[in-house]
């Protein structure tokens, strides 16, 4: 792997940019690997990357039925934050946030992580109580989150309307300054490049059609559209399709898959300097470096794998955005799209060993997995390499739905993705 640097740009400028190499190779699948990762999205590629860099396991294949980063990694709204309520969530989301800081240097790839701040608005006394509870819980866990008056919120985010006459007046806000955004595609590409350079095989257009198990129940490999590929360890990181893959291994999951839509406006000059969320008005918005307003909608109400959703869901979201920011009422929306998100009953992920020996699963990130990409990959690689969960992901078992030890983040995950 040739290092990207200012000297590389200068060198290539001198010779007509003919020396840039492919960012990752596309080898033919081998008969057998030490580890197979199902799904080449951000989480799967990060897992492969950390298997190689932290644990020295490089005989790894990442199988992808479509193209790399073409699922939810390329469909989310790129928000990064760690202001979740419970200790377990604080542990895993802040582990990720610490890795975001410095990720571009680590990968030698600009993931454009921008700690521009995530501001959550309060509109009534209940919002104040809930958000202040989050602020205090976060600070006890060493996570930055501070309470702002409406005037302070306006100073941090000038387009905010703090008039008392507004339909949903802003009566305060919680601000996580380390929160922000990153370039979603670059995260997948950066991890793919880093993993490929260390010998990981990334195999696109290779759909897993079955999971093979030995007489003792242990995993022996996977059937794919490109033939059988053997491995003693298989990690399923398939987002909306996780329960489909797990069913192939005979494991039924506490998951339901829903369409989640998002949309962007035409690009305009910088106007929204941070990420703004309102759980009450049910909307959130940020602005990409290209200038588009990035707006996330809610999920549709029914199980679907169609990667689309109802128009009324988008209309509802835009209604809410216009309530919060009347200046955007004449903005034109450029495009909208949908992704399929796998939602657990307690809105927390599952990163764990499974009842099947050699089968591991990293799923259930629901509507908000992008922010966790580095941390998720890091601890999932540990879980696979050691056949034992990292202390950070130890609470995120499948068994918690039997024991009742849930991590109920429905409030923190309701709107803000």
């Amino acid at each position: 792997m040739k290092k990207y640097s200012v000297f590389a740009i200068a060198r290539e400028a001198m010779r007509g940019h003919k020396g840039w190499e492919e960012q990752w190779s596309s080898p033919e699948p081998k008969k057998e690997y030490d580890v197979i990762i199902v799904g080449a999205g951000g989480h799967g590629l990060a897992t492969a990357y950390y298997l190689a860099t932290v644990h020295g396991i490089t005989n790894v294949a990442v199988l992808e039925k479509g193209w790399l980063g073409g699922g939810n990694t390329g469909r989310n709204t790129t928000i990064i934050r760690s202001n979740y309520l419970y200790d377990e969530s604080a542990g895993i989301y802040d582990h990720a946030l610490k890795l975001w800081d410095g990720l571009s240097q680590e990968l030698n790839y600009n993931v454009m992580y921008s700690a521009r701040g995530v501001m959550m608005l309060a509109h009534n006394v209940h919002d104040i109580q809930v958000l202040k509870r989050h602020v205090h819980a976060n600070r006890l866990n060493g996570i930055d989150n501070e309470w702002l008056t409406p005037e302070q919120a306006k100073e941090f985010c000038p387009p905010l309307n703090i008039s008392k006459q507004a339909r949903y007046p802003v009566v305060g806000a919680a601000l996580q300054r380390r929160g922000g955004t990153a370039r979603h595609d670059a995260v997948a590409w950066g991890y793919a490049r880093g993993a490929s350079a260390r010998g990981v095989h990334i195999i696109q257009n290779c759909e897993v059609t079955g999971v093979k198990r030995a007489a003792n129940g242990a995993v022996t490999g996977v059937d794919t559209t490109r033939g059988f590929i053997g491995a003693k360890k298989v990690g399923v990181v398939a987002a909306g399709h996780s329960s489909v893959i797990m069913n192939m291994a005979g494991v039924r999951m506490p998951l339901e898959s829903y369409p989640l839509q998002a949309l962007v406006s035409e690009p305009v000059k910088p106007v929204v300097p941070c990420v703004i969320m309102s759980n009450t008005v049910h909307a959130y918005i940020s602005q990409s470096d290209k200038g588009e307003l990035v707006i996330g909608a809610g999920t549709d109400q029914y199980v679907s794998y169609s990667q689309t959703g109802g128009l009324h869901i988008l209309q509802h979201t835009l209604d809410a955005i216009c309530e919060m920011f009347p200046i955007f009422t004449r903005m034109k929306m450029l495009r909208s799209w949908g992704g399929i998100v796998d939602v657990t009953p307690d809105r927390s992920p599952i990163l764990a060993k499974t009842p099947v020996p050699g089968l591991y699963v990293n799923c259930g990130w629901g509507t908000g997995g992008f922010k966790a990409t580095p941390g998720s990959g890091h601890v999932f690689a540990h879980t696979i390499a050691k056949d034992d969960p990292h202390p950070i992901n130890a609470p995120f078992t499948i068994e918690r739905f039997r024991t009742g030890r849930l991590i109920d983040e429905a409030a923190a995950a309701a709107v803000a993705h």
């Binding site: 329960s243 039924r252 999951m253 029914y302 199980v303 679907s304 169609s306 009324h312 009953p345 739905f401």
Partner: protein, 98 residues
């Protein structure tokens, strides 16, 4: 937006009038306190989440307000049929092979 046929109103109405109420044909135990942890997990949390034909409950909230069941393809989002609550799972689906 989906167009959904309510089997009670016998009319196709827009999705906005309806609420999805999750997977159908999941029977609650008559003795819920006596359920084992395993069986309670299956009843309460585990879902089939199929890629393909799903049996699901809908409620015609802004219409007759009654619950009914539907069979739908989760890949195309097309409804195969709807039927009244309490009726058994249809053995044969119209227009579906096997």
């Amino acid at each position: 937006m989906l167009l959904i046929r309510c089997p009670y109103c016998e009319e196709e109405r827009p999705e906005l009038e309806f609420r999805n109420a999750g997977e159908a044909h999941i029977a609650r135990s008559a003795n819920i306190a006596g359920e084992s942890d395993d069986d309670f997990e299956k009843f309460f949390f585990i879902r089939s989440n199929p890629k393909g034909v799903i049996h699901e409950r809908w409620r015609h909230m802004h219409g007759c307000a009654r619950f009914f069941n539907a069979v739908r393809d989760t890949v195309t989002d097309k409804f195969i049929m709807t039927y009244k609550a309490g009726e058994p799972k249809p053995a044969k689906l119209p227009g579906v092979a096997k």
